[in-house]
C-alpha cells in the first residue's frame, strides 16, 4: 500500500490573533482540506501560535505544529527545526507559505524535498523587497500567489527579471457571517444614535506609520458633510499608536461628538458594525487587497475605497462601489454616496451581497485554488 501524499503549509500565525494574514491562512487551510483528495495529509507549521491556540477538534488529515515561544527568535528556530525534521521524515509534494517572509525556509524545504514551492503575497509585505535573502528566495520559488493585481504589479516591480510566475488568488470572506441585516439596537444605544441617524464606518489599524490610509482626510471631510447632514457621525474602529493624535485632531476640529474612535472592534461585533453604518469608507492608497471591503459589501453597504492600490479588486473596478483618488478631497464623493448617487447595485443590499459572494465567496476561492492545485498531477486534484 502506497503512503499518502503530504502537503506542507507554513504560516507565521493562524489562530493566535485575527488579522488579514491569519484570516487568509485559515481560509487557505480550509480550502486545501476541501480540494485535496481525501487521502492527502496536510502538515501545518505555525511560527507564532502556541498549542493553547490550536482548535480542539481538527480534521484527521491535519497535523498541526505550533512553534510559538515567548522569544521570537526561538519561535523561528523551532519552526525551522520542526519543519526540517518533518521533511526528512516524509517528503511533501508541495510546500505552501501563507506569507512571503517565510520564503527562505520554504525554499530550503522545497530543495530538500525536491517539490514545488508556492507562497501567498498580500500587500505591505512585498512593497520593499529590493535586496536581501527574502527577495533572493522569493525569486526562486515556483509560484507566488498575490492577492490582487496591484500586489502582483508591485511584485513584478520588486523582483525584476527573475520574478517567478505570479497568479492572482484573491482573498475571500465569510459570506454567511457578513450578510445584510437591520441596524443593531445594542450598537445604536452604545453609540447614542437615533435609528435613522447617518453614519460612516471605517476600520483599520491606527498606526502612525499608516498615513497612506488617509484617515485624516475622512475626518477633515466631516465639517463639509455636516453642513448637509448636521447629525452625521464618523465611526473609526481599530487601535494603534496613532489613536491619541487622531483624538486630538478631532478635538481641534470640534468634532468630538461627530467622530467616534472606540478602539478595537471585537471580531464578534464586526458584522453588526457594518450593519450599523450608512456606508463604509477606507480611502487608502496602500492596501494589498482589503478584506474589510468584502465584509462591508457582504453586509450590503455602499463602499468608498481608493483607486491607487489593491482596493480596486474587491470593488471589482468600481462595479461594487465607489473608487476615488484618496489624495483628493473626500467630501464630494462621500456626499454623493450619502445622497444615493452611484450605480444601482450599490444601493440594493441583498443584490450587492449576493454579487460579492459570487465573486469572492468560498466557492470562488475554492475554484481558484482547485485550478492551481490541478497543475500538479501528483496531488490528484482535477481541474
Amino acid at each position: 500500500m502506497s503512503r499518502p501524499t503530504v502537503v506542507d503549509l507554513l504560516c507565521p500565525e493562524l489562530y493566535a490573533r485575527d488579522g488579514g494574514v491569519q484570516n487568509y491562512g485559515r481560509t487557505l487551510l480550509k480550502g486545501l482540506l476541501q480540494v485535496l483528495p481525501a487521502e492527502t495529509r496536510l502538515r501545518v507549521f505555525v511560527r507564532n501560535d502556541f498549542s493553547s491556540h490550536m482548535p480542539v477538534a481538527v480534521d484527521p488529515r491535519l497535523e498541526l505544529h505550533p512553534c510559538g515561544s515567548r522569544l521570537p527568535l526561538l519561535s523561528l528556530l523551532q519552526l525551522v527545526l520542526v519543519a526540517l525534521m518533518a521533511t526528512m521524515r516524509r517528503r511533501p509534494a508541495l510546500v505552501i507559505a501563507t506569507h512571503p517572509h517565510l520564503a527562505p525556509l520554504q525554499l530550503l524545504l522545497g530543495r530538500l524535498a525536491g517539490c514545488p514551492t508556492w507562497a501567498a503575497a498580500h500587500g505591505i509585505d512585498v512593497w520593499t523587497l529590493r535586496f536581501g535573502l527574502r527577495r533572493w528566495a522569493l525569486q526562486r520559488l515556483e509560484l507566488v500567489l498575490p492577492v490582487s493585481r496591484y500586489t502582483r504589479d508591485q511584485l513584478h516591480h520588486q523582483l525584476g527579471r527573475r520574478c517567478p510566475e505570479l497568479v492572482v488568488l484573491p482573498n475571500s470572506f465569510n459570506q454567511n457571517r457578513f450578510r445584510p441585516g437591520p441596524r443593531p439596537v445594542a450598537l445604536l444605544e452604545r453609540y447614542s444614535l437615533r435609528p435613522e441617524q447617518p453614519l460612516i464606518f471605517s476600520i483599520t489599524r491606527l498606526s502612525s506609520k499608516d498615513c497612506y490610509k488617509h484617515i485624516d482626510a475622512l475626518i477633515t471631510a466631516m465639517p463639509e458633510l455636516r453642513k448637509l447632514w448636521p447629525d452625521l457621525v464618523l465611526l473609526i474602529g481599530g487601535d494603534g499608536d496613532d489613536r491619541p493624535r487622531l483624538r486630538r485632531r478631532v478635538q481641534q476640529l470640534r468634532l468630538s461628538e461627530a467622530v467616534l474612535l472606540p478602539g478595537r472592534i471585537a471580531d464578534a461585533e464586526l458584522a453588526d458594525h457594518y450593519r450599523l453604518s450608512s456606508l463604509f469608507a477606507l480611502p487608502s492608497e496602500g492596501e494589498g487587497f482589503g478584506i474589510v471591503f468584502l465584509e462591508a459589501l457582504g453586509c450590503g453597504k455602499p463602499v468608498l475605497a481608493g483607486n491607487r492600490d489593491g482596493s480596486v479588486d474587491p470593488l471589482a473596478d468600481g462595479a461594487f462601489g465607489c473608487l476615488v483618488d484618496p489624495r483628493l478631497p473626500l467630501a464630494p464623493p462621500l456626499r454623493a454616496l450619502l445622497e444615493g448617487y452611484g450605480e444601482e447595485l450599490w444601493f440594493r443590499p441583498e443584490a450587492l451581497s449576493a454579487a460579492v459572494a459570487e465573486r469572492f465567496g468560498s466557492g470562488a476561492f475554492l475554484a481558484g485554488l482547485q485550478s492551481l492545485l490541478a497543475r500538479l498531477p501528483v496531488l490528484g486534484v482535477e481541474a
Partner: protein, 613 residues
Amino acid sequence: MCGIAGLLSTRPGDAGPELAAALDQALAHRGPDDAGHWHENGTTLVHRRLAIQDLSPAGHQPMASACGRYVLVFNGEIYNQRELRADLERQGHRFRSGGDTEVLLQLLIRYGSAALGRLRGMYAYCLWDRQERRALLARDPYGIKPLYIWQGPGGELLFASELRALLTTGRVPRRLDPRGLRAFLAQGSLPAERTLVEGVCALPPGGIGIWQEGRWHTQLHWQPSYAPEAPLPYPDLVAYTRQALEASVQAHLLADVPVGLFLSGGLDSAAVLALVSRPLTTITIGFAERAFDESEQAAALARHFGAEHHVLPLGAAEAWRFLPGFLAAIDQPSVDGFNSYCVASRAAELGLKVVLSGLGGDELFGGYPSFARVPSAWALHRRLDPLAPAGAAWLSRSHRAGAQRLAAALRRPASIDNTYRCLRGLFAPAEVERLLGHWALASAPEHGRVGHEPIIDPEDQQRYPDPSDRVAWLESSLYMGNQLLRDGDAMTMAFGLELRLPLVDAALFRALASQPAAQRLATGKRLLRDAVPELRSVLPDRPKQGFLFPFQPWFDTPGSETGEQFLLPNPSTPAGLDMGPWARRWGLMVLNDWLQRHLGLILPTAPPMSARS
C-alpha cells in the same frame, strides 16, 4: 469650448429675456456656432457654442436630460468621453448625441459630485436640478476654463465664463475692488479668489459650488499632492513618463475639426509635436531680434515631423497694430497674453478651431530658473534670519525693482511661498502703497495681506515632501493658473479658437507627481528630454525660450517704433519708482486701459513712455 452664463434666483420673475440677451451678446465671440437660452422660475441658463465634438444640432445647449429633471450648460472638453460613454452604455444608457456634453450630463445624473473624479479634461459647468431647485457648478482641477460668480443682495447668483459678461448685465456695480488692485500690482495678475470688481470672484480651480434657495457654498474636489509612491529606477521612469505623455497628447486630439499646434521652437511644444501621431498645422512667431527668434528652429521641427508650418513675422510696428484688439480682448488684466493674442489671430486666419500648446511643461518638469533659485534663496534667508531686518533696511535704500522686492521678502518670515512671490512679483508692497498714494487710492482698506494668502499650507509636509514640489505648485497655481491659463483662454476665445494643453492635465499630474522631485524636476527638463528622444537630433540642448516677446528692446531702443499711437497714456508713477522693467510699464498700461474701459476709472496720467525711458 464655449461660453456659459446664467442667473439663479429665488424670485420667479427675476430672469428676463433682456438678461439672457445681454449675456449671450457678451459671450458671442466664444461660441459662433450656436446659441441657446433656458428660463424657468427665476433660473436662466445661457450658452454659446463652439462646436468641436459632434458638430450636429444634437449637441445644442442648454441640454436637458431625457427625464427632464436636469439642465446643463457646459464649457470645455471631456477628453475621456468615449470611455465614460462606453461605461454608461454598459449600464444601459442610450445616448442621443456623439458629443461630450451628454456624457457629462449623464455622468452627473448618475454619480453626482463623485463624477468629477472620473473626468479627464477642462471644464466649467452649471447643472440645474429642477426638482430640488439646486445648481451644481464646478471647474476643472487647474482652472483652465474660467467661471466668475457674483452673488446679489437677495441671494441670487449670476455666473459667466467672462467677467466682462457679468458687467454687461447692469446688475453688478462697476466698483473697483481695492484688494484686487493691490494684488494685481503685487503680482502682475489677479489671484484666483479675487477680481478688480468688488463682489465678483472666480470659482476656485478644482472647486465645486452649490446654490440652493439663495444659499451658496463652495468646496474643493481637487488638490495637488506630490507625496511619494514607490520610486521607479530611472530607465523605467523615462518609459513611464513617455507612456503618460503619449496618453495625454492622444486624449487631447479628440475632435471632429482640424487641430493645430502653437510651436515655439522650445522643448515643450516640440515634445507635443513629436508625440502627436498625425500631421498637424503648426504656427510660430518670427522676430527680427535674433535673441528672441526661434522661428528657424520651429521650422526645422515642423519639417522633421511633417507638419504644415506657418510663421507670423512680427516686428515692433506689426506688433503694436495688434494692441487695440488685444486690449479689447482682455477679460482680466495681466502682464502677459499679448503673445497668445498674436499667434491666435494667425491660427484663426488659417481656419483652425482647435490648437494645442506646450504650456505647462515648465511647471511639470522644472523648466523655470525659480526651481533652483527659490529653494536656494529660501535656505539663505533661513540661515541669515537674524540679519534679515538689517538686510531689508539696506536693500530698501535702493530704488531698483529687484532690491525692493528682495527687501520685502526679507521682512517676511522665511518661506518658499514668500521667496517665490518676491522673485516672481511685479511691485514690492512698499512700492504698491506708494503707487496707490500717488493715485489717491491709498485710503482703500487693505483687508489683510491680499495677494499674499498662502497657497500652500506650510505644515503640509505630506503633500509637498520637497521644497521644489512647493515651487512647482506655486508656478502651476500662481504664474500659470492666474496668468498663463487665464490669458490663454481669453486671447484664443477672442478668435473663437479652442486652446488645449496636454501638459496641463490632472491625469498626467497624478502619474508623475509622486515620482521623486530630483528626477522629475531635474535641470534642463532632463526627464522630458529623455522621454522624447526623437527630439535629440533636431532640438539642441539649450536654455528655455518659449514665446518670449522682445518687449524690453522694443520699449528701450531709442528710435524704435513704440505703440504709443495706439495706447492710452500710461498712468503716472511716483518719482524714483523703478519703471525700467518692461513688465511694470506693460502692466500699468494694461491696467489703466482696463480700468477705464470697464469701470470708467481714470488714473492720473504720465508723459509718453519714450520720453521717460
